[in-house]
Structure formats: C-alpha cells, structure tokens
Symmetry: none
DNA sequence: GGACGGATGACAGTTGCGTGACAAAACCCC
DNA sequence: GGGGTTTTGTCACGCAACTGTCATCCGTCC
C-alpha cells in the first residue's frame, strides 16, 4: 500500500489529514515536528511526504532541505500561507508541490497521483539501480521488475497477461495483429485467435478503469490491439 | 532556451503571460485555442505547456487528454476556476500542476522548475521510438499505429477504409485505377469497380472537410483515385 | 439533350469482438 | 503425494459494426 507521511504540528489538522488519507486507501503516518518526521522517514520511508511550513524547532523550509539531502520522495507542502515568497521558497527548497489550507482531500490525492505519474524511475529496495519502466498515463509496466502498476498501486496480473502486456508495451502506439501476438506471446504459429481476445479482455478488467471503454489497451477492429498512453 | 507554450483564449491574459515569461528568460509562444495549441506543439514542441480550461471549441480537459496521447511534456493548468472538481479532473486528464488565476509569475516559474527537477517518467533508455506518419496537409495517416487524424483529431475509419487509405497514401500523388485498388486492397482479380467508389465515398465523409469537394482524395475521371496534399 | 461515369443512401447478410461459463492444466502449500 | 486454488484455453452466444449490393440521383462531357 502507498504510504504517506504527514508532518504537521497542529494535532487536529494532522489527525484530520491522516484519517482522510486512510479513507482514500493510503497508509498514513504522522509526525508533529520536522525532527520527528525526518527520523520516521529515515527509519521507514513513506512514498510521499506532506509537510507544513510553520513547525516548532526546525521549520518546514529547513525540514524540506534536510529531507532532500538523501531522499527523492515527492514532497507536498500543505500550508495556510499563500504568499508567493513562501511558495517560491518552498519549491526552491526542494518541494514538488504546494497547496494552501484548507485543501480538499480529493485534490490532494489527485496531486499525489500526478506526482507519481511524473516521478522518477523507481529504484529497487537494495540499490540505486534504476529499473526501466514503460509508462502509459497512470499505467506503468516494468518488464524487468515483472511489475504492473496503476496510479502507483501494484496490479496482480498472471504470467500470460504480463507477457501480453509487455509485448504490447514494447511496441507502444503500434497495432499488433492477433497472429503477431499469438506468435510472440504464445509461440504458436497457428491457432485460435480468440485466445488473444480472451486474455485481452481479462487484462482490461485489471488495468483499465472502465474495461468496457478502454483508454490504453484499445481494439482496432479488423487490425488487432494497441497499447497507447 | 526553454520554450513555453501558452494556450489561453483571452488575448490580454495570454499576452501578459507571454511577456512575463520572456522577462524570466523563457522563449514564450501563444495559442488562442486548443486546436491551435495542439498543432503548434506537434509542429515544434515546447518544453512546457500552460493551458487554460475554458477555451472555445475543444476545452482544456479534452485538449490535455489529446496532448497527452503522444506527448510527455509537463502541463500546467492556469485557470480562474478553483473548484476541486475541476482541479481533480484536470490532473486526472494528465495535467501535472494546477494554479488558480491570477498567479504570480515567480510562483509559476518556480513550479516549472520544480516540474523540471522531478523530470519525466523514464520509458525506454532512449525514449520510445516514434511511430511513422504520412501527412497530407491537415490529414495524417499512420499505417503502423492504425490511426488516421485530421488536424490532430483521431478519425474513426473502418478496416477496409483504412487499408484503402494506406494504399493511396503509400502511392501519394499517383493515380490508382479501380482495378489496382480492387486488387491491392481487396485481393480481387476481378469484381465490381463500384465497390471502390462506395468506400471512397465513405472515406471522404470522414476525412474531407467538404466531402462533395474533396481536396485530398480526388477523383480523376476515367482513371481512378489519387491522394494528394 | 443524351450518355456515361461517378456519388450517395438504404438495406440485409456477414463478420468481428466481448463476455460468461466451464473443464483441463498448472501451481502451491503443506 | 494430495487437496485446493489459480490459471489457462475452448466454446457458444449475442450485440454491434462493417461490408457489399443495388437502385437512384447527379454532374459532366460530347
């Protein structure tokens, strides 16, 4: 599950944010000071950090700078201050986004998803070795890591579905005929092309928001299938 | 120099943004409609796109979606609307950031820098291979992508129409007789030549602005059909 | 004005695709 | 090795879209 760290000294606001985030399906953690937040993040890194600017002790700006020294995590400032100077300073310090309190939770999560989309190459847990990722909008396919994600959330696909998806992803934007897929994914020189349909259908159930109206894995009637952004 | 495309229908605002961006050292370009912006970006891609939501014709949401279909450029929405629904919808459509007008130029450029820092999603080591496209004025045919566009907008054509169009496109500027088309598109050695007429007619309805006076898919009386710029 | 080539609209048969059900096969966890 | 679960391939059905034919209309050229 995607984890979010909320650094905010006001107990009421922090709690409200944590609850709202959990409602949205995130694993939410809280910290009341920058020091505590930095410690928490070092010990058990979250996928996103939300941070207030006015904090006791180390303030938000400095907190962001220190966090940025050794962490590439997306940082969103959630502050009551809407002064241009603060916004610019926070972004310059290393924050990725800045929203003004009060903020709708839906907007916040939409911004997190946008950051996720734009985010850097995923690094493996045990090294800085970047894993190539093929991205299609909110969809990510990582052939080497054997991973499929939608809006950052891992999607469980079977081996056949994964091979099919990789084949389509590696030829992104190009039509692949059922015959080509049958040959490349299954190694069949001949066979029932309906087999492809069925697996495409199953894949759509998993990776498309609305499987009946696919946005990425589209059918080109009479031609085949294509994966697009 | 870093280029920014501003898509905004209000002349005053657009001009103000363009001037301010140039003051900040950017190369700034303007477009008054989504259509114009999409065309501009396709012809000569900018490094960032700023877009308004309320545009005549194609609105901002749809414009973002269309832009995102084949461009990974960072998109920032600059809108007067501060409704959560709009913000979420725009981010979901593929925008990377959303700021509410009026916006300080310093904040805007700070956000652009933040986006640049965050970088783009890695796809393949050298980026995805571009899909070849045959262009005829505002008409684009991509045999590999199985796609036809008019002024950048996807046009839905059937398989037969698509094959016919590809055949004509691959012999652009040359006349193809009905017999040749019948043979190459349908594989018929003999048959009713009227069949070709019918499909050409249907194709014209879809790809020509004025199907009665075709500009690209023209008839050469007694000879056949030809696709031209 | 007549004849010919081309455009167009309607229509019914056909095809292509999506889907749910099902059984065999593979896999997994003891 | 065995029992249960997941995955895989096959099938049949139904809907929607496409195709080819025909009849008719239109424009153009002699």
């Amino acid at each position: 599950m995607t984890a979010v760290l909320v650094i905010e000294d006001d107990d009421r606001i922090r709690l409200a944010l944590l609850l709202a985030l959990e409602d949205e399906g995130y694993e939410a953690r809280g910290a009341a000071t920058a020091e505590e937040g930095l410690r928490t993040q070092r010990r058990d890194p979250a996928d996103y950090v939300l941070v207030d600017l006015m904090l006791p002790g180390i303030d938000g700006f400095e907190g962001i700078r220190q966090l940025r020294r050794d962490d590439d995590v997306p940082i969103v400032v959630v502050s009551a201050r809407d002064d241009t100077h603060d916004i610019v300073a926070a972004l310059e310090a290393g924050a990725d986004d800045y929203v003004v309190k009060p903020v709708a939770i839906k907007e916040l999560t939409a911004r997190l998803r946008a950051l996720r989309r734009r985010g850097r190459t995923v690094t493996t847990p045990d090294g800085p070795e970047p894993v190539p990722v093929l991205a299609f909008g909110e969809l990510e396919v990582s052939p080497e890591a054997g991973e499929v994600r939608r809006s950052g959330e891992p999607v469980a696909v079977t081996r056949t579905e994964f091979r099919l998806l990789c084949e389509l992803a590696e030829h992104a934007g190009r039509v692949l005929s059922r015959q080509q897929l049958l040959s490349r994914v299954w190694g069949y020189d001949s066979g029932d092309e309906r087999l492809v349909d069925v697996h495409v259908g199953r894949l759509r159930q998993k990776i498309e928001a609305d499987p009946a109206n696919p946005r990425h894995l589209v059918t080109l009637r009479g031609l085949g299938y294509k994966l697009q952004r």
